[in-house]
């Protein structure tokens, strides 16, 4: 068990290093070096030279990378070119908005999708199965931002039940915050439940064919027990991994959904920073999104033995 944890944690180090190199290189492809970007067009050459030396930009590229990496490791992601504020607190503030919505949405999606997948697998080829498969294939095909627009159109414009534009933090006014966040949460939960349902159904069908299930039934275990206690624990592992991937992916910024619902989340920050050519913020958003993605998948893998003890046995 301990060897498994150590191995899995060690695996993330080279991934993070390689990804950080990729982000560093990507941002250096932008015309103009960081000092030039900071001073803008009207900086005088002497000042530019001085700043370059102070930032280590006169050194070789690998050294520059190491300096940059050290700063990042200390939480120094530079300052926004737009307002000269440090990047990190900005990222943290925006990430909270995204994280709140995504966590609730994925929890809802999983709690709808897993039972639905289980039911469909249990009665494979029945009418219920057909309906669930058709429904999840449809959800899989609908783009989240369009689905969000349709929900806004219905509940915001036609029925007038919910506001169309805006956001209020939960700590300020929970009731109004709920009005602004309910549609994005429902959008994400429904869209993501499609793919989770398909996975849960497919892996449950595989497990239900195994002999120990027949044995459990022959022993007289009631069907609900067969499903929840015998089939689900074995069928859940691939679904668990998928939920982790979705979670990591969405936490990295759901820019399109945040754009539809005008939410000040991480994804929207990234897109706005790209438009404003605010490269320190772009870089910070990308690093945070990847870090979250890698860490979520690490946690998911570390919890994996709970569902499938075989992985630690080797």
């Amino acid at each position: 068990m301990r060897a498994y944890i150590a191995k899995r944690v060690a695996m993330t180090v080279p991934t993070l290093l390689l990804v950080s190199i990729a982000v560093f290189v990507l941002m250096r492809l932008v015309p103009g070096d960081p000092a030039q970007l900071m001073l803008g067009d009207q900086g005088d050459p002497a000042q530019l030279d001085q700043l370059r030396r102070a930032m280590g930009l006169d050194r070789s590229l690998p050294v520059q990378y190491l300096i940059w990496l050290r700063n990042v490791a200390h939480g120094d992601l530079g300052r926004s070119l737009a307002n000269d504020l440090p990047v990190l607190p900005l990222l943290v503030e925006r990430f909270q908005v995204t994280a709140g919505i995504v966590l609730v949405a994925v929890a809802i999606a999983a709690s709808i999708a897993v039972p639905a997948g289980l039911l469909a697998a249990w009665r494979q080829n029945s009418l219920a199965d057909l309906a669930i498969v058709a429904g999840s294939t449809l959800l899989l095909s609908v783009p989240s931002f369009w689905f969000g627009l349709l929900l806004l159109l219905l509940f915001g414009v036609k029925l007038g039940w919910l506001p169309v534009i805006g956001y209020v933090p939960f700590v300020e006014d929970p009731w109004r915050a709920l009005q602004y966040t309910i549609l994005p949460v429902v959008t994400l939960a429904l869209i993501e439940s499609g793919v989770i349902t398909r996975m849960a159904r497919a892996s449950t069908i595989e497990v239900l064919r195994l002999e120990y299930i027949t044995h459990a039934r022959a022993k007289g275990v009631p069907e609900s027990g067969v499903l929840w206690r015998h089939a689900l624990p074995n069928a859940f592992a691939p679904t668990w991994t998928l939920i982790g991937l979705i979670l990591g992916n969405l936490l990295g910024g759901i820019a399109v959904v945040e754009t539809v619902f005008t939410l000040p989340g991480l994804g929207r920050l990234l897109v706005d920073a790209i438009f404003a050519r605010d490269y320190p913020v772009v870089q910070g958003c990308m690093l945070l999104a990847i870090l979250v993605y890698v860490l979520v998948n690490l946690v998911i893998d570390l919890l994996y033995p709970l569902f499938d003890p075989r992985v630690t046995a080797e």
């Binding site: 390689l18 080829n125 294939t137 783009p143 369009w146 627009l149 349709l150 159109l153 754009t259 999104a289």
Partner: protein, 270 residues
């Protein structure tokens, strides 16, 4: 039986997509970029079947032109990703050693980027334009092709028929192209089909964010983005472009599932 019906529906949707895309390159009811200030924000009517937008442009014509653009971008991207990915995957799988390790390290770093983040970062550097998207999305999706091709090469490179080709005096390049590459075609077909769907979705999302195909050229994504401010006065603008994306993805998903069950039973979802 059900599967065949699904494949048929998927195939019909894709055929419709191709037909509209081809038709739009030669004919649309109205010129898709032509403003008509006397017919601004017209609801759907016999004259404008899907209504008009804030400049009085015909939505149906723009949808058709958008179909051509989105399909072309998706096809070019998939072609780029598959060609580049297959070449690198063959190289990595066949060369082994340091070449393989270096290629796979870079590949894994690119695969570690979640979703369309890598494409977003690349678009930040390239700036929004039609061919920039092909490059950005192609680079984002090629790593999965490298993976699949390398794995297939690894599994067949020591098999007898590859050994036989070598011992007959065929060159390494000939052996790879003639005897190793064909084994990758089934998994690549499955992957390329799904990838077409991912690219259509990703391009729409990027265009919706304003980082994809720039206006005035219409795509489904940038039409939806332009529709957002007119949600209350002209709701029809928000409906048709998204429906096109959804129908395309539905077609790809149905066809993709059927293809996977046929060509790659190992990956079949029961």
């Amino acid at each position: 039986m059900r599967l065949r019906g699904n494949a048929l529906l998927g195939g019909m949707l894709m055929a419709l997509l191709a037909a509209v895309a081809l038709l739009a390159t030669v004919w649309t009811p109205v010129a898709p970029l032509m403003p008509n200030l006397r017919a601004r924000l017209h609801p759907p009517s016999p004259a404008f079947l899907l209504g008009t937008d804030e400049f009085g442009r015909d939505v149906l014509s723009r949808i058709m032109a958008g179909t051509a653009t989105s399909t072309l971008v998706a096809l070019l991207t998939v072609a780029f990703a598959v060609t580049a990915g297959a070449a690198l995957g063959l190289l990595a799988g066949y060369a082994r050693g340091w070449t393989d390790r270096a290629l796979m390290a870079v590949n894994d770093a690119l695969l570690a980027f979640p979703g369309i983040l890598l494409a977003l970062g690349l678009m930040a550097v390239i700036g929004p334009n039609k061919y920039g998207i092909v490059l950005a999305l192609g680079l984002a999706y090629a790593p999965s092709v490298v993976r699949v091709v390398r794995a297939t090469v690894m599994s067949v490179r020591e098999r007898e028929f590859v050994e036989a080709s070598r011992s007959m005096g065929n060159s390494e390049v000939y052996t790879v192209l003639r005897h190793v590459l064909p084994n990758c075609i089934a998994p690549l077909t499955v992957l390329a089909t799904s990838m077409f769907g991912w690219v259509v979705l990703a391009e729409s999302a990027l265009s919706f964010l304003g980082l994809g195909v720039p206006p005035p050229a219409p795509t489904w994504g940038n039409m939806l983005s332009a529709a957002r401010p007119y949600m209350e006065t002209a709701p029809w603008l928000s409906i048709a472009p998204g429906a096109c994306i959804a129908l395309t993805l539905l077609g790809v998903n149905l066809l993709g599932d059927a293809l996977r069950d046929r060509l790659d039973p190992r990956m079949a979802a029961a």
